[in-house]
């Protein structure tokens, strides 16, 4: 599992691409086209998803597209690393924004992060209804469940 551990730890989302980068980027986007082009580009930063992790327990239900989520908890640093994959590009972009906010944090910090506030700040809720089948809620819910489980263990 060491090779895939590197995949987790080297995920640029939340490490090289920070929350500030995303917030700064969004600040200068005027119309929906620029906004979505930016989201789609962020999605291109998702690292390749490990094929062996495409198993039922990693499948995120409640999305129109296929969404997969896997994690690696680094006991030495106490940090939780996440990988997400989807076959829909806008969902990949939303996943990237989620990772920028939550990836590589301690489970406690992750659980304390208000992701709704972030999406409001990005003015995304107005454009991307969390009920519209893009699985925003389902992704965040599964990540928080994972963090809660790791924190207890």
């Amino acid at each position: 599992m060491t090779a895939s551990k590197d995949t987790f730890v080297n995920n640029p989302l939340g490490k090289d691409t920070t929350l500030d980068d995303v917030l700064d980027g969004f600040e200068f986007l005027d119309d929906w086209e620029e906004r979505y082009a930016f989201i789609i580009d962020l999605g291109k930063q998702l690292p390749a998803f490990p094929e062996q992790a495409r198993i039922e327990e990693n499948y995120v239900h409640g999305c129109q597209s296929q969404v997969w989520l896997t994690h690696h908890y680094d006991e030495d640093s106490g940090k939780l690393f996440l990988l997400i994959d989807s076959d829909a590009m806008i969902v990949r972009g939303l996943a990237a924004i989620i990772l920028v906010a939550l990836n590589g944090k301690s489970p406690r910090d992750l659980l304390a992060t208000d992701i709704d506030e972030l999406f409001e700040k990005l003015d995304l809720f107005r454009h991307i209804s969390p009920t519209r089948g893009n699985g925003l809620r389902a992704m965040v819910g599964k990540i928080r469940d994972t963090a809660a489980r790791v924190a207890v263990a």
């Binding site: 129109q64 590009m89 806008i90 519209r132």
Partner: protein, 417 residues
């Protein structure tokens, strides 16, 4: 307004679509800062003012429970409610209002029939459906098959999206008890050649049901000419309210079927020793019905009756033809379902794009379509796609809106390039 290079070849003459659009108040609004282009009529159609007013007036002036009150309002409500039943009887050309049962919709109507026919089924019997059915015309049959030991057998579909008649001929046999197929496919728009299939099935004593949910917004079916035993549809796709649908059934079969739900209204006499059923259609209408919705459905049928139907069908065909012409303006776009005889519905995929991406970005441009599996997973499996994007048109859509859809799709494609 769009600079699409393919010239129009058809015109919506003899059908004043602008005047018709004024009858549908919801259509004249902005969504995401753009004029709404509503192309999700296959999922649910919009309602004309005539329907809204009829329901409003019903509640303001005549609401009471039906078939009960010894008072004037009760009489008014009953007259409006039963008047709607007569209107629907006329729409379908059924022999009698005894054959018009109110249900919650197509889904409940099929469940009612499946349960009613279950006592006739035994192990080894076959229920013939098709590969293009909506889940509502698959799952209820699977549920009674499970109970009775019968088997649900699908008629194959051709790559163009038509029923494979060789498959039908080879599957219709002495074990077939029920033929339950869709009149029009919700995904493909295919209009199935149901009349000859029903004739063949009837010759073998097979009970026949047509799912008319996607047919009635475009055609007026004549159930006596079709010869089917059951015909079902939902009001909300027929420009009427949600929460009500219709089961047409031949009186003799309905008489033979046991009630579906028990309760008030559906009984003749109740005692702890013996309860007897009410006559048709009330035997299948337990509880207080959706009265205002029935009135609304009646108003929808009346509204449609006031339209020039041949002109409306020609206008719908012009919409479909225009859409088919413009497919080539979007590289990588492929229409799923290219049957010769179609209602104005196009299901499509675009190479490299997920249907949900297409739907989200069209919505940003004010255009409402449906994306996903359309409650037809076996058909999605047949075409090897996780889902499709579907634009489904109604008579109130315009050629301009068709062109806006394609201009918007070009924009979506540029965004992903």
């Amino acid at each position: 307004m769009t600079d699409l290079s393919v010239a129009r070849t058809a015109h919506q003459s003899a059908f004043d679509v602008d005047a018709i659009r004024r009858d549908f108040p919801i259509l004249s609004q902005q969504v995401n800062g753009k004029p709404l282009v509503y192309l999700d009529n296959g999922a649910s159609a919009q309602k004309p003012t005539a329907v809204l007013d009829a329901m409003d007036r019903y509640y303001r002036e005549m609401h009471s429970n039906v078939h009960r009150g010894a008072h004037t309002l009760g009489d008014r409500a009953t007259a409006a409610f039963e008047g709607a039943r007569e209107t629907v009887r006329g729409f379908l050309n059924a022999e009698s209002t005894r054959e018009i049962i109110w249900t919650r919709g197509t889904t409940e109507a099929i469940n009612l029939v499946a349960n009613g026919l279950a006592p006739r089924l035994k192990a080894g019997d076959e229920i013939l459906v098709s590969h293009m059915e909506h889940h509502a015309n698959i799952v209820p049959w699977q549920m009674i098959a499970e109970r009775t030991g019968a088997k649900v057998v699908p008629i194959q579909v051709t790559p163009e999206g038509e029923l494979d008649l060789d498959s039908f001929n080879s599957l219709l046999n002495d074990r077939t008890r029920i033929l339950a197929i869709t009149h029009v496919s919700n995904v493909l728009g295919t209009v199935n050649p149901v009349a000859p299939l029903i004739e063949q099935a009837k010759a073998r004593g097979v009970v026949t049901l047509l799912d008319g949910a996607q047919a009635v917004p475009h055609y007026q079916p004549d159930v006596q000419a079709l010869g089917c035993d059951f015909y079902v549809f939902s009001a909300h796709k027929l420009f009427g309210p949600t929460g009500i649908g219709v089961l047409y059934g031949k009186a003799q079969l309905l008489e033979e079927m046991p009630p579906y739900q028990g309760g008030g209204e559906m009984i003749e006499r109740v005692s702890f020793e013996r309860t007897t059923w009410n006559t048709l259609p009330y035997k299948f209408e337990a509880g207080t019905p959706a009265i205002a919705e029935a009135v609304g459905l009646g108003a929808a049928v009346d509204y449609l009756g006031g339209l020039n139907r041949p002109a409306m069908e020609a206008a719908e065909k012009a919409l479909l033809d225009r859409a088919n012409q413009l497919v080539e303006t979007v590289p990588g776009m492929e229409v799923i379902g290219t049957a010769k005889h179609k209602v104005p519905v196009i299901s499509f995929k675009i190479a490299g794009l997920h249907p949900s991406d297409i739907g989200t970005l069209l919505d940003q441009q004010g255009i409402a379509i449906r994306t996903g599996h359309h409650c037809a997973m076996p058909l999605m499996d047949f075409y090897g796609v996780p889902g499709t994007a579907r634009a489904s048109f109604a008579f109130y859509n315009t050629l301009d809106e068709v062109e806006q859809l394609f201009a918007a799709l070009q924009k979506v494609q540029r965004l992903f390039a």
